[in-house]
Symmetry: C2
Subunit: 317 residues, 2 copies
């Protein structure tokens, strides 16, 4: 298949939205309704770096779309459309691309996102880059910068299953927590409900500690996090039987859960949000004034001492 | 430099627009004015494929931004912001990235585009992907699909200098036409003036023949193109001293000029457009009804016979 076959046979059928202009134009054309902001984010995943070089088309599609949409979830935005860039290398043959396009199409349907366009190029090391567009009510788009001392810190779902899932995947073991790695589920509905409630929000992609630090930096605050309060799955509890193992789960990323802060007066609303969305929400700490000028999430053990962390999260290089 | 150094030291200073939120959020936030459409396109360039692996940061930045903006020019859109994705490999060291960021920043200023955000990842084969956003008056955004039989076909600037520039660059010869390759200038102002006048438009990235074919396909028409009328530079004329060499220039791409169609009644307006924008505009042919069901631009020689073309343009694979 050449470039035009791939586009017309595999991706053309997915691009039925008007904005895509049948993938026949230089650019996609879209609207943002009055009273809303456009929200846009882009995420690139590289073969052998962000997924194993022999990962199937399914897994690459599900991870790429899930990770990209997770950024919209953290902003409280509702997805609208996306642009898909494929850097196709020698190992991405027709069966791979066919599987990729089927999984990608299923994801578009599940998350109600239109394929607006993209680019298809040759690349010796394959990669996929997805630029996702959404909209958010102008007054309610969430940022990382609004956390204030005294706010409560919450996290959705469980933490660490992204790491355990990758490990199981690499060991070719099938497990329930593998889903968190193979097919990350962006917390879109939760993010949308948090818009107007959360003072700050981020999705856990690099690692809980590193991502909470991002909120601290952007907001000019610090945090006290009760490490024992961080929710783990059964597999997570089994793995985290010592402080070093627990530290690994809290700094490994790939969870695509939301960590968010809520002002004291709104904390009472969180239970109803958990019930309405069906998402587990756990309070893990409190925002405090910056500690000696540093903007850091301090992860505290049961004795109230700061945990020793070999690192705080994934670093690209 | 690690990921965060690169972002904060090299690209943070370029991201001064509100939409970028100081590059501290998961996504950028932007507005589209009432009465306008949002227009978005993305272009990826891979090291060793779309530019030589030893190309300097200058050239990579100028080519990536120029190529991406050229798609907005073809839609008649006015650029607003962009997302920059860098796949940084071992060869992209600090001097390379510093040079890249300076050139990229100069391009943002020259073309009045804000840096809204992006992604920075490790990639064994380096790449750059730029997603550009613009706006266009809702009633005037140009597509490839509006060409009708009888429309005149025009092209801006000269054709073939992208090819000659690449050749000179590869041979380490300095020449005037090298600029077309090293630093493509998107015809943004021309595209904006053509909005509401041109029935169809495309930028010449793959090659004149292949790109005119794209208009033919999208519009359901064919074209007669007078090959001898296609404007060449002095270097282009010197190179095209036989039909095979001329065919090379007409099928090689990287020109980033605009090819566009104008309905018969509006052809009189084109002279004034050329004068007002200072861009050379040349009529090269006429849109005709599809020839025996095919949607093709027929490049005719002086005798009116179809030229022999080894291919019609660049193919990614």
């Amino acid at each position: 298949m050449d470039e035009f076959d791939i586009i017309s046979r595999l991706f053309g059928p997915l691009a039925s939205h008007d904005a895509a202009r049948s993938l026949a134009d230089d650019a996609a054309v879209f609207d943002v309704p009055a009273g809303y902001h456009g929200v846009v984010s882009t995420d690139a995943l590289v073969s052998g770096v962000h997924f194993p070089a022999d990962a199937s088309g399914d897994i690459v599609a599900q991870r790429a779309l899930g990770c990209a949409l997770s950024d919209l979830a953290a902003m409280g935005a509702t997805p609208a459309g996306c642009l898909l860039t494929l850097g196709i290398g020698p190992s991405w043959d027709e069966p791979f691309l066919t599987q990729f396009s089927h999984s990608f199409g299923a994801g578009l349907t599940a998350f109600k996102v239109a394929l607006w366009g993209g680019d298809t190029v040759y690349a010796p090391t394959p990669f996929v880059s997805i630029c996702v567009h959404g909209v958010g009510e102008a007054a309610k788009v969430i940022s990382r910068a609004g956390a204030r001392s005294g706010d409560a810190v919450f996290v959705s779902g469980v933490i660490g299953d992204g790491y355990l899932g990758l490990k199981d995947y690499q060991n070719q073991e099938t497990s329930a927590d593998m889903t968190a790695y193979i097919s990350p589920q962006p917390q879109l509905e939760l993010g949308q409900v948090l818009a107007g409630v959360a003072s700050a929000c981020i999705d856990i992609s690099d690692g809980l500690a590193a991502d909470l630090d991002h909120i601290c930096h952007a907001s000019g605050v610090s945090m006290h996090i009760d490490a024992a309060a961080v929710p783990l799955s059964a597999a997570g509890h089994a793995f985290a039987n010592n402080q070093t193992a627990l530290a690994t789960l809290l700094t490994s990323g790939d969870d695509y859960q939301l960590a968010f802060c809520v002002p004291p007066n709104d904390v009472v609303r969180v239970d109803a949000i958990a019930r309405d969305t069906g998402v587990r929400i756990t309070r893990i700490g409190t925002v405090i004034a910056p500690v000696s000028g540093g903007f850091t999430a301090h992860l505290l053990d049961d004795a109230g001492d700061e945990m020793t962390l070999a690192n705080r999260g994934y670093r690209h290089f």
